[in-house]
Symmetry: C2
Subunit: 347 residues, 2 copies
DNA sequence: CTGAAAGCGCTTACAG
DNA sequence: CTGAAAGCGCTTACAG
């Protein structure tokens, strides 16, 4: 037993076991240990293989990824930038990505951008410094750092929201425009009039396309949106509440409201209740995303179900493609996942 | 201009700028560049300092953390293990920790344990391989790997749930026992009888202490809990629903139900509604955590407000203490944060 | 089949 | 004030 190994037995808290500890203990070179660890086993004799494996198990050796990373210029880290962890819909996407990732030996660094370009840039810088192998950018906002990043070698997959104009990379999400139009068709079919919209920030492709699809389909169905019935909100409940308040303050009230996401719909719902307006008798509400909590906490909300659970595997597939150099350089390749119109009692 | 620098101008996608690129460009050694980067500036002349800084800015150099980490045996990574990201309460804690952390130059690796000891162990192993500087363990479960980890050098802070018996480390959370007893006092004061409980897994210190505090205070107030009115649930809505179903199936129904967390209360609430039972007229419900969504989505739920927003700074303080070697080795040092009893219409 | 050696991107005593 | 050199924990051509 080496001195190091001996001291491990004595000390309460032990130093990290390194590759040369294993090598010494097994009586081989570190090259051989490395080969065993990395499964280049056909280059190692059966006998040696077993002995080294035994020592590895015995000493509970776990190769420091950092050493390998430095040598191979390749970490096993993937960053997920997310606008708001407390939005359960985003959290569910994060969940899905994390579980797809852990299966491939990667670990996820989580960064909260809060929809703030400066924070997004800060984290993009940080992630570059950490030499992450790839970035999943959920809810990208336009920023100088993002444009700079596009010129570097770090693969980025855009999730739920397309890259800003002039930036290229695979996109994983749904056909928001089409989904928006289906909400309009539903309203038309029900004969709701006049219709209104509380949409999300139009700088977000998801919010913009949802709204445009809705607006255009409504117009095609013979109902042009009254500008006073169109409001832009942030993607949270407070903003939904505030904008519903304005929308419902006048004498002429909308009969149905398209909401940019479920959180906005929750806020609008609350305001309706406060005003004594029945949903859907007086005002119909339609959400977007199908927040996983809906089933329990808003089982009344008609919404567009975005398949958050299947985002993870698609994001990983796209990252793999980028790593293998298979993705086209200057295109936004779209991986559109199927959504579902979820009709419940709010319409 | 060096060849490398020249080629950077030409290529669309550029290789990483390294310390020796900067050194060459600035006409100094890499030692000097390192000193400038690390602010050992009093050892560098004003003139050199400025020149190097200019080159760094110009080349947009960001030191690879991995190089520094290998040399100093110190990464800037902290792992957060979390039972369930889609529980908004946990997500809010993650949020708080992440934002406290990013201020100190650390990045957070997020791992989903799903309350599964095997997954927890898998991630503990991974995090050791990543040489994380510390671990925040939200909702620890007992596991062989956790016990092994306790013998190593990686600082662990236990969040919301205390370490299993025999494992030591700082704990950040609330006084769950006291909070549980306050729920009982409230029920007693309202004259609710008989009282019931749907508690979380008793292997979790938080769940256990909440329940025991409630049970004991109830007994002290002259009301011993009827065993048939005590049910153990998982910390989610489905389980809350299922257990409420059982609890409310018999002829003799509880007048008030203590729920191990808000999710359980949501599930119980739904079952009450389905049975046509009024809350609180027929059944009173009390939750735990005060999920950030409550204000919007369950404004009726009386609950214990756990100050999730202030977890982050306390967790970071404890990690700092561990890094500075100030924490006692074999004690569970408790950092108890103030909670608040949030009375709303469900009681 | 195996080992000695170079090198990944940094930091930091040491010498000047 | 500055630089040459060693070394952090690995991998991998190269030589034997």
């Amino acid at each position: 037993m080496s001195r190091r190994a001996a001291s491990r037995t004595l000390l309460a808290r032990t130093a990290r076991v390194r590759i040369d500890d294993v090598a010494r203990e097994a009586g081989v070179s570190i090259s051989t240990v490395s080969r065993v660890v990395n499964g280049v086993a056909n280059k190692v004799s059966e006998e040696t293989l077993e002995r080294v494996r035994a020592v590895i198990a015995d000493m509970d050796y776990r190769p420091a990824r950092i050493g390998r990373a430095l040598r191979t210029a390749q970490t096993q880290l993937v960053a997920l930038l997310i606008p708001d962890t407390t939005n359960t819909f985003y959290a569910a996407i994060a969940n899905s990505i994390e579980s797809s990732m852990s299966g491939t030996g990667h670990s996820m660094i989580l960064c909260n951008t809060g929809e703030d370009p400066a924070k997004q840039d800060h984290y993009l810088d940080e992630m570059e410094a950490h030499m992450v192998r790839g970035i999943a950018l959920l809810g990208a906002v336009d920023s100088p750092g993002l444009r700079k990043m596009a010129r570097r070698n770090i693969p980025i997959v855009f999730v739920n929201r397309k890259p800003p104009p002039g930036i290229y990379g695979p996109f994983v999400g749904i056909d928001n425009r089409k989904a928006g139009s289906e909400v309009a068709l539903h309203f038309l079919q029900r004969g709701f009039r006049p219709c209104a919209a509380i949409h999300g920030p139009l700088t977000s492709s998801a919010s913009r396309e949802r709204f445009e699809g809705y607006r255009d389909a409504l117009a095609e169905g013979g109902q042009r949106l009254d500008p006073q019935f169109v409001r832009g909100a942030e993607l949270n409940m407070q903003s939904g509440y505030d904008n519903a308040e304005t929308l419902l303050a006048g004498r002429k009230k909308p009969r149905a409201i398209f909401c940019g996401n479920d959180l906005i719909a929750y806020g609008a719902f609350r305001r309706c209740r406060e005003l004594g307006l029945g949903v859907p008798e007086d005002v119909a509400l339609f959400g977007f995303d199908d927040n996983p909590l809906n089933e329990w906490i808003a089982p009344w909300l008609s919404t567009v179900h975005v398949p958050y659970d299947s985002f993870g595997s698609t994001v990983m597939t796209e990252l793999q493609r980028l790593w293998e150099g298979k993705a086209p350089a200057r295109r936004v390749e779209q991986r559109l996942l199927p959504y579902q119109i979820q009709l419940r009692s709010s319409t």
